[in-house]
Symmetry: C2
Subunit: 317 residues, 2 copies
């Protein structure tokens, strides 16, 4: 028996399922210790992608069945389950596997359940010095690191980050580590307090001159965010898109041509790098914890996570 | 006295002006020998940018007044007149000068006139082995080369070029020189004949599988072209935007994020590289000449250039 949040036809409910997942060949059975709620979960539950099943893809777990050297270890798991055979797998880019399933998102059950079966090669053992509260941020921190994985950030760049939610607040920290001049673009007091704590500049959008930044990272997920970001980038600058968009921006692509701007889309990132930064204490993730709920209160936790400006809501199993 | 095409309030007419342009300090006086009609000229004349003045920015000229070593030389001219003082000029990117004027486009008279005054540092002497008919393509060929100036093209890339007008047909030739597998995306027989002549593959849009190309260059200038191009690019691929857009695409930017696509806007390019390619006979520009008119027939020439599928229309002075 296990508890699981099941989403069906835009309806969610906490079920008790009779059977645990059956690990297939190459998979381990994971007992979830903690999970985090991501905006993607809220979108899936709201029915944006016709999702049904068990959502959840940010988690810390203990290996219950699997290879002997992993039994009892605390692990996190990469969410893209690659086929191993397509051109992207062969090029060493399994996160873009053409036949991928994605934990809690596409064709694979998620982590809002007591147990999860997952390919062993997706697992990363967590060092003892990294707590569960930190480790649950490894997946989004890796996504933040995908910015520097795909874009060359110079230490003398002026960088603005727009959309300072859970992901944006990780991205400003990662970018600050490059030595660049990072500006968190916000008017919200709670976000400014965090930036201040980390020694990162804050500015309101209207305070930043047009065409004045080398790099802008758009984490807003809104059409307006894209337009705002585009306005701030100087010629030959880089616009990094970090969120899927809720709507279709009417993008002034002529601006990209005239100013010769480089736009880089970026998605899932390197887990081992995220683990290293947490181990070295270089990123403050626990400051992003908004609230924590026992898993039995997941419905309430999801409501909390959906409130405007809410940061990370955790689920303890 | 000189002849000049003057555009005023969306009206164009061929005038005889009493005075020649007065070269200012650092400028040469150029006597135009030949000019080419670009789509941008047609857009300016159609009133798209509130333009008034003398259009025209593709030309071959002879230096009539200026530094002694240039007198009598055949030259072409870069179109961006840079201030020399802004951050982009100081970084060696005068084409993105923040205070630039642009020949025949912004705050500087163009080449659809017998004479033009232009900064000496914008001039490039044409080698004797390059004819006027070739040299008049140096400006657009340089713009085509800006693709490889800004994007890294690998010899094993599969590249599609969509929108095979005057510029697209230069871009396929430049890309072919990299050794990449270049596909001109078209159904038009006249374009296919040129591709065939150059040994470049042609395919109809519908024949190309989705997400199958490493690089797509969009020269359509149409919102639909952007959407079409986006569909063809594989994950981690590059979408190069080469035309200003007539309309505002409702861009599915989520696709950029999920597939981690890199979009690169690109504008004016390196003149010396274009001259080298013409000198070495590596690009066939004269095949793009659709028609030629004496300058006195410029109104008729502009009508011809505006016909669908028209290639380069030249003006002989």
């Amino acid at each position: 028996m296990m508890r699981a949040l099941v989403c069906n036809n835009h309806q969610i409910s906490l079920h008790t399922l009779a059977a645990l997942p059956e690990p297939r060949e190459g998979e381990a059975l994971l007992k979830i210790r903690q999970a985090g709620i991501c905006n993607t979960d809220l979108e899936l539950i709201a029915g944006m992608y016709g999702f049904s099943g068990i959502p959840g893809h940010e988690f810390v777990a203990e290996v219950e069945q699997g290879p002997p050297h992993l039994i009892g270890k605390r692990v996190v798991g990469e969410i893209n389950i690659a086929c191993g055979g397509c051109d992207f797998c062969q090029r060493g880019i399994p996160s873009q596997c053409r036949n991928r399933r994605t934990v809690g998102i596409r064709q694979h059950p998620g982590a809002f359940a007591d147990y999860l079966a997952l390919t062993v090669q997706n697992l990363h053992v967590i060092p003892d010095t990294v707590t569960d509260d930190q480790a649950v941020f490894i997946e989004p921190l890796a996504a933040a690191l995908q910015v520097t994985e795909l874009a060359h950030i110079s230490p003398d760049n002026r960088i603005g980050v727009i959309g300072l939610g859970k992901l944006g607040l990780l991205i400003v920290q990662v970018l600050q580590l490059t030595g660049a001049d990072v500006i968190g673009i916000t008017r919200r007091e709670s976000q400014k307090r965090l930036l201040d704590k980390w020694g990162i500049s804050a500015a309101a959008y209207a305070e930043i001159p047009a065409e004045s930044l080398h790099v802008v990272v758009d984490c807003t997920g809104q059409a307006q965010g894209f337009e705002d970001a585009l306005r701030l980038i100087e010629p030959r600058g880089t616009l990094i898109l970090k969120s899927t968009y809720h709507d279709l921006p009417r993008a002034d692509l002529t601006q990209l041509v005239v100013r010769e701007i480089n736009v880089i889309g970026s998605r899932c990132g390197p887990f081992e790098s995220a683990i290293r930064l947490l181990k070295q204490g270089l990123v403050d993730v626990t400051a992003l914890i908004e609230a924590r709920y026992p898993f039995d209160s997941i419905i309430e936790a999801l409501e909390r996570a959906a409130q405007p400006g809410a940061l990370k809501v955790l689920l303890d199993f």
